[in-house]
């Protein structure tokens, strides 16, 4: 399993992509957790959602560091990016997961049950997206590759 994320982030002009998980042909992954927390000291309404992309981004990726649950695990075959140089991914309208929360010390965590999660199959992508709110916050994502 691969956890990633954690860097502080302030959505500049929502709706905007936070991070994008992109697969490769022939590989399968399942997103099993997304989480986030606010770091501001006054109310900051935020709306965050997880959605698939109808078109993958193009150009050089701004990579987000990917960790491992165990040091002996192989490195991830997937790409986790905060931006694409040429064209941003086109996000789908329906959300896989979406909700409002408050960045004033608030947070959220969704964890999949056993054998559950959102599949990334082949060279497609899904992104965590800030639809509203510009407060400083941190986000994380965890997935399992097969």
């Amino acid at each position: 399993m691969f956890p990633a994320g954690g860097a502080t982030y302030s959505p500049a002009a929502p709706p905007v992509m936070i991070i994008d998980l992109e697969g490769v042909a022939g590989k399968v992954a399942r997103i099993v957790e997304v989480n986030g927390g606010g770091e501001v000291t006054a109310t900051g309404a935020m709306t965050t959602r997880l959605a698939r992309d109808t078109a993958v981004g193009t150009g050089a990726r701004t990579a987000v560091s990917i960790a491992k649950d165990y040091s002996n695990d192989p490195t991830s075959d997937f790409f986790l990016s905060s931006a694409y140089a040429t064209t941003a991914p086109t996000v789908d309208t329906p959300s896989l997961l979406g909700f409002g929360w408050n960045a004033h010390g608030g947070g959220f965590r969704w964890k999949a049950g056993p054998d559950e999660g959102f599949f990334i199959v082949g060279a497609i992508s899904a992104q965590m997206r800030a639809d509203a709110g510009t407060s400083q916050s941190r986000y994380g994502i965890r997935w399992r590759e097969y």
Binding site: N102, G113, V121
Partner: protein, 89 residues
Amino acid sequence: MGYLVIDDRAQAGGVREWDTVHCRHCEALILVTRYRREGAYCLKCGPVCQRPECSPERCGRGGSLHFMRRVGEQLRRDAFARAAGLAER
């Protein structure tokens, strides 16, 4: 069954928690406590959401709508493309 928690205690909003299940047709998340309003049930596949595309009546006419079926189809397409030299290994 998954778990979703949203903590708004700093704003006196309390902690909100839900059990979650996935729509078996489109994988969208369904909050169990809202299932009666936001969910339906497909006898072939299991809990589904109420989007028209996921309607239980549509499942079975042209084959199951279960998302794992589409996962398998995508993997078979990828394997064929690699075997035919149409995709990068």
